[in-house]
Assembly symmetry: C2
Homo-oligomer: 424 residues x 2
């Protein structure tokens, strides 16, 4: 199918056929017994273990074709036996979680005797476009199965062969459980035109989940003819308020930036109250520098530590995903809130302080999916929330917002049971 | 401002200024005390009562300009003292309901001591485009205020002056309560180009709610650069299953069609099981004909009642909003489900039957915002659900689905409170 899809004139036909199959699979998956979906995900995990060598060979091909990727990107792309085993384990854990579909979210009875329920249902067909590690293929596909949705996955082109091998395992699992193998489909081409067709098929695709940088998100929001659950980058701030305990501030900032600088929950900008900058900023910057972090800051930060290089305007809007931090000294809570409102990406924002008036105002006024006090922004993760595997962190204003797991990839309908009631 | 806006080159500037004001108002409204929002809505209700003569004069101008509208449309457009009083009463009832913002929707604590809350927040700026009665201006504007959102309203052009007078009352109420009068703004022009600009300002508008027919919804879904909560027409079915009790079926169908044929929850198509058509269809059709309903049906229906005229293919997809019903005899539940899947608009669908196996399958398998058994589809209404005033019934697959009231025009954020936790 890949060969066919390379011919421009055929891509639209291939995409429509994928859409048609996904819609058909979604109808079956929506009515599937929970045990069958569990079995499909477990069989997918088993297939990942059995096909480990095939997956690693596909990954080697990706790496060989990758050419001049950065060291960080190569590390994200590379699979080994441990990473394949971790993928399989993740699927087994997801399989063991409660089935979200059919749950009664609310129920009440009206004075006229009509019984009303709000019942959880799948979304239908979910299109997911991602740029990152090949293991997202396993997580995203399996989360869709768990939530009764059919998935159309568009992996990053650099992980094309690895993602293909992983998606094949999920399809094997589905077939083994008597569900349509086409409930998880990976686009069979790397051509960009395929994405355009995917975004233009509202009759086959109910929602699009793009996960990536501003360029991808903006293209999808401009072109998509169906709802978009956007997973934008995390330009996250940790704000050290004047009421912060120094030891806690040091521990939290170091972790928020350096535990894993490449995750979307990593802190990218440190905001520091001017009142405590002389005492708090030098030790925090020393910790970061000692851990290998590059420091870029405003004039006041540069004055406090010679290692800080001057930041440009662009630094305040940059998701580094790397061991680099931007540092700005601000005049109190109002200035910190204004900076975050202007430069934040509505992902995750943290304040460190013992002053409850300040922290409660921060939690209330900051507009982001996740707001936190006295904790590392690296907790921005579905598993850390106790929600299990996730597709990512939704940064839109509408629900689902924050970590998107199986529960969040659902909708609801109202079920009314009467005994012949009519409206007066 | 209307005069300015008539000049094509100025409309974009006018729209951007409206957007900027709405964004500013939304920031203030999101943080407003519940009591202040309550006071604003109550003061708006009081203004409607005081300004009743002004509103009726504006309405008379609309009626004079309306020209050759149908009788049904004139009836929807016309206001009188009773209708204005009902609008004011609706606002007072909305004001008395609990404030949705700040509600903790869920909370839990992680093993590491992190306390997590999901807290209800406003959406921001809501753009609402509607074609129907002028009272929607009052309901939609006040629901936005209640839910902490700023509203930009685009009324049907035939109710332009009435809607203007009503929106002015809401703005008076906001100002009287110390909130920005610009939290509710009505577009100051009837030009279609204004809608195009509204849909192209994602920096100022967070969500668009179009309420109308397929033409409007499709234009908005094609052009909008922000999420859309679509309120499509209701092509609703009532299906009389072979296990239906005749007396109940007669009562339910007559009400579902004829109580108010012009509401979106009205039944448009009657599906009748072939097994009971000879006994059940003639009395049901006789009831409808006696109430003044025009009958259009398939061959089998025509054979059972001489008043039934042959239906065309288009009838199965038509929202009449009038005293007309399409009638089709089907071969059992599977055929009914297939007809609804093909022709329904995912609004409200009903089955009448005493057979629990059939009704539970219908409730589970029909994909619509509202599915019901043994009740009139005219219950598809936020007030009948006990949810208070509503903007309408959302027919999309993503939440909010079904009746959209103040609670449904909200989102949430995650609030995490720690004591210095870092991630390992």
């Amino acid at each position: 199918m890949e060969a066919r899809a390379q011919k421009g004139e055929d891509i639209e036909a291939v995409m429509r056929e994928i859409g048609r199959r996904a819609r058909e699979a979604a109808g079956l998956l929506a009515q599937a017994e929970p045990g069958r979906k569990t079995a499909a995900i477990q069989a997918g995990a088993a297939a990942l273990r059995v096909e480990c060598a095939v997956i690693l060979a596909a990954n080697a091909r990706d790496l060989a074709e990758a050419g001049d990727l950065s060291k960080a990107l190569i590390d994200r792309l590379r699979l080994d036996e441990g990473r394949v085993a971790a993928m399989a384990k993740g699927l087994d854990e997801l399989a063991a979680r409660p089935d979200p579909i059919g749950t009664v979210l609310a129920q009440w009875t009206r004075p006229n005797g009509l019984a009303i329920e709000r019942v959880r249902v799948p979304l239908g067909v979910v299109g997911i476009i991602f740029e990152s590690r090949p293991n997202v293929t396993a997580d995203a596909g399996a989360i869709c199965v768990k939530s009764g949705n059919a998935a159309i996955l568009r992996a990053g082109s650099e992980s094309f062969h690895s993602s293909r091998a992983i998606a094949d395992c999920l399809s094997q699992g589905l077939a083994a459980a008597g569900l349509p193998a086409t409930a998880v489909q990976l686009l069979p081409t790397r051509e960009r035109a395929a994405v355009g067709h995917l975004l233009a098929m509202p009759e086959f695709v109910d929602v699009i989940v793009p996960r990536g940088g501003r360029g991808l998100i903006e293209r999808v929001q401009r072109e998509a003819r169906m709802p978009v659950i956007a997973h934008l980058e995390g330009v996250n701030h940790t704000y050290i308020h004047a009421g912060a305990e120094l030891a806690m501030a040091r521990r939290v900032v170091l972790n928020a930036k350096m535990r894993r600088p490449g995750v979307c929950g990593a802190t990218e900008t440190l905001l520091m109250d001017r009142a405590v900058a002389p005492t708090h900023l030098p030790p925090i910057l020393a910790d970061l520098a000692a851990a290998g972090c590059e420091l870029r800051g405003d004039e006041a930060s540069c004055a406090l530590d010679a290692r800080v290089r001057p930041a440009s305007e662009a630094d305040w809007d940059t998701e580094y995903l790397d061991a680099i931090i931007a540092v700005r000294v601000v005049d109190g809570l109002d200035a910190a809130l204004a900076h975050i409102a202007r430069h934040g990406s509505r992902h995750s924002e943290a304040i460190v302080s013992q002053d409850a008036t300040a922290t409660e105002r921060f939690l209330r006024e900051v507009d982001a999916a996740i707001v936190m006090v006295n904790a590392s922004t690296q907790f921005a993760d579905g598993a850390e929330f106790g929600m299990g595997a996730e597709i990512g962190i939704s940064t839109g204003r509408l629900p689902p917002r924050g970590p998107v797991g199986a529960d969040e990839l659902t909708s609801y309908k109202y079920v009314l049971r009467g005994a012949g009631q009519v409206r007066s």
